[in-house]
Amino acid sequence: MSPWVLRGLRDGVVTTRWPARPDAYADGWRGPAVIRDPRPAGAAELASVCPTGAIGTRADGALRLDQGRCILCGRCVDRRPDVFGWSSGAAAGALTESGLVVPEMPETDGSVAAIRAALAARTAALRRSVHLRHVDAGSDGAEEQEIMALLNPVYDIHRLGFFFTASPRHSDVLLVTGAGAHGMAEPLRRTYAGMPDPKIVIAVGTDAASGGLLGGSKGGAGPEQASDGRAAAPDGGRPGTSSAGAMSQGGSYATSGGVGSVLPVDVWVPGSPPPPFSILHGLLLGLGRMPRGQQPAEARR
């Protein structure tokens, strides 16, 4: 007899029941950085601590942090543990780019509700059998590993009706990884165009959300940011070079600073790379299938 029959029974059921039941690994996950104290002493110098320019200040002087740029390097937490900390739990994704900025901006509440309603209306037809297509647009290879992990018996996303498909024609969800390499822009657009409506796009990882360390298209943590612009202008850190024009151009000669400039993104999942639970959360968030007890990122903060 094949040894595999018995070997398959060896460890019993290892599959998580998340999101229907809590999962210790998902809840204990250390997510992107958060701000504990938005008005510390010496706030002005703190922006330069972040190598991706995720930290900035609002017009009123309060600190803000864009988790869509956070690569979880911990520079800010190491430097000022009184001001910065880690978010807990794998539910890091958001439906808008600004939804990744902490602390939450009160005025975005209404618009997030509107976006959520529009997305729910659009994806009403996508229920219990949802097909996924992945495209790598310049990742470091780690995000692919975490997406593949969704198929292992611990996450087993087949139990939730998710299946990977080879053809864009059969897919409902496009998972995009990577900083938006120029070489992948056209293949990515064609893949998206080949998908039938309704469809949703999920930017998986900080690189996909903002370009991460490869240089972003966004001007730091929002329009009023006071970061030194080093990451937003990818040449700014080099002495003797001019950063003029870099802010408007974004990205680098080879990348677009995230996939948001190539495709309309519906769900933003930060992380470097995001763990499988965060990717799964992003999927369920986009389909409006997160149970009520497990609030999405915007409401949690």
Binding site: E143, R238, T255, P275
Partner: protein, 508 residues
């Protein structure tokens, strides 16, 4: 235990002879290779208005760099590839990045950048400032090399079936066999080398960790070894042990991933699930140690940032459980005849080709050529830890590569136990040494799961002015040209998985 850390005495990098011209440099290099040194890489650097060509040669003493400046305004130079085939992709890469033509190169097609015009602006790593202009690919050039009636090209990628990194394989076939294969990796070129040039030496490690995700720790190690050589810093004993822990856990995860892909290709559902479970357990253990499933943020210039967050006894118990359940499933897998039939004589790499090319990591070792940096040019805590017997096979096929990986898995468990034991007894010595660098240049190396990684790093005024990561994936992927003889289309996923490479490390 003697806390001898860092490269053992007498091992390091040295700039060897500087040759007057490129042909003189090639004579020097081919002579050294004939005397037994291994060709480990070729790169170019823009130094103001001249181009510097650097060859890296490896032996027991470390990595030696031989260099020459090209004449001012040179548009070409005599190619190295005709006399040293291993330089094939390296010269194509230099052509892509700098636009200079290696005269006599057998096939100068675009590799890591798309086809560009002769006077198009090039990224030119080493030149001050950012790359001149955005580069967008022209998708309409398709190379063809095999001519004959009934032959056609199957473009496979860049968007491929399954969750894969973007690469395009152009399979030239009469229908079933694969007489020739072309690879185009430029789709996911990310401009990593230029990006390094905007970072300080301390921040560079963050980008090194994100250069090739499946070898995050090994890239960070190779980068930090270069920084530490410039600074003349020795990593404290405890820091060196923590580095070994993470490097070996990364090797476990990568080798288990190869097993998952091979089992999946063979349609063994239970085996796929089992090895997927084992890999998940390894990644979870890594995340419990440091907060990241890929060991990011641990390795920093001068040592490590923190101790493992798991007590030694608990760690050892978990490692023991993993080892026994992995070895049981491995025995079952290596006794499954239908699986072994798919690997045997699939994708063979001839030993003489492996030696000629200096094939790295498991790909080289499975073809009888081994130059494991942990053993030959040991670093961190490896000189003081026992690596056990050297593993070599000469089968050269996908099966030999898998067998070799299982032996490395056993070796990694052995190293993990030793390092954890030593760490428990190491007392309260520091984890990192202060590591400030102002200026200098060095080559750092580390043995990734895929093979040796090199970082040629130049720092001026505290900032990186040139950083060239050379991954094992880049050096080994070109061997795909060699291994399809007699194989058919359905062997493709086995051969690709058995190489275990990452495209991110190729198309920096």
């Amino acid at each position: 235990m003697n806390p001898a850390t860092g490269p053992a005495a007498g091992i390091g990098t040295a700039v060897g002879t500087t040759a007057a011209t490129a042909p003189a440099l090639w004579d020097l290099v081919t002579g050294e290779v004939a005397r037994g040194r291994r060709f480990a890489g070729l790169m170019a650097t823009q130094r103001e208005d001249r181009l510097l060509l650097s060859v890296h040669l490896a032996d027991r003493r470390g990595i030696t760099t031989f260099e020459t400046f090209l004449p001012l305004g040179a548009a070409s130079y005599p190619a190295l590839t005709p006399v040293l085939g291993a330089a094939f992709w390296y010269e194509r890469e230099i052509h892509d990045l700098f636009g200079i033509i290696p005269d006599g190169h057998p096939r100068l097609e675009p590799l890591i950048l798309p086809l560009l015009g002769d006077d198009a602006p090039r990224p030119r790593p080493g030149a001050a400032g950012r790359a001149a202009a955005a580069i967008w690919p022209d998708e309409h050039s398709v190379p063809r090399h095999v001519m004959g009636s009934g032959l056609f090209t199957i473009p496979h990628g860049p968007v491929r079936s399954g969750v894969m990194e973007s690469i395009e394989y152009l399979v030239e076939t009469p229908g079933e066999e694969i007489p020739h294969l072309n690879m185009r990796v430029f789709y996911k070129h990310r401009g990593i080398e230029k990006r390094f040039e905007q970072l300080t030496a301390a921040d560079g490690v963050l980008l090194a960790e994100r250069t090739e995700g499946v070898a995050s720790v090994a890239h960070a190690l190779a980068y930090c070894h270069a920084v530490e050589q410039i600074a003349g810093v020795q990593v404290p004993w405890r820091g060196a042990l923590v580095r070994v822990l993470h490097a070996e856990l990364e090797r476990l995860a990568a080798h288990l991933d190869v097993a998952v892909r091979l089992a999946d290709a063979a349609g063994l559902a239970v085996a796929t699930a089992r090895f997927g479970l084992h890999k998940e357990r390894v990644l979870r253990l890594v995340s419990r140690l440091c907060g990241s499933r890929f060991g990011r943020g641990v390795v920093v210039p001068g040592g490590v940032s923190r101790l493992p967050l798991v007590a030694a006894s608990e760690f050892l118990a978990e490692v023991g459980r993993m080892e026994s359940s992995i070895s049981g499933d491995t025995r079952a897998l290596m006794g499954t005849a239908s699986f072994l039939d798919r690997l045997r004589r699939t994708g063979p790499l001839r030993p003489e080709r492996a030696r000629e090319h200096g094939a790295l990591g498991p790909v080289g070792k499975a073809s009888g050529f081994s130059d494991d940096a942990r053993r030959v040019r040991p670093y961190d805590a490896y000189p003081a830890l026992g690596l056990g017997d050297a593993h070599e096979h000469d089968g050269g096929d996908a099966l030999a590569r898998l067998r070799l990986r299982w032996e490395e898995v056993g070796q990694s468990f052995h190293l993990l136990r030793q390092a954890a034991d030593e760490l428990a007894e190491a007392g309260d010595s520091p984890l990192r040494a202060s590591c400030e660098v102002r200026a200098g240049r060095a080559v750092g190396w580390a043995e990734a799961p895929q093979g040796e990684i090199l970082y040629d790093l130049r720092v001026e005024d505290g900032c990186i002015t040139r950083c060239r990561p050379r991954s094992a994936s880049f050096h080994n992927l070109v061997l795909f040209h060699e291994v399809f003889a007699g194989d058919i289309l359905t062997d493709f996923p086995f051969i690709e998985a058995s190489f275990g490479l990452s495209v991110a490390g190729v198309a920096l």
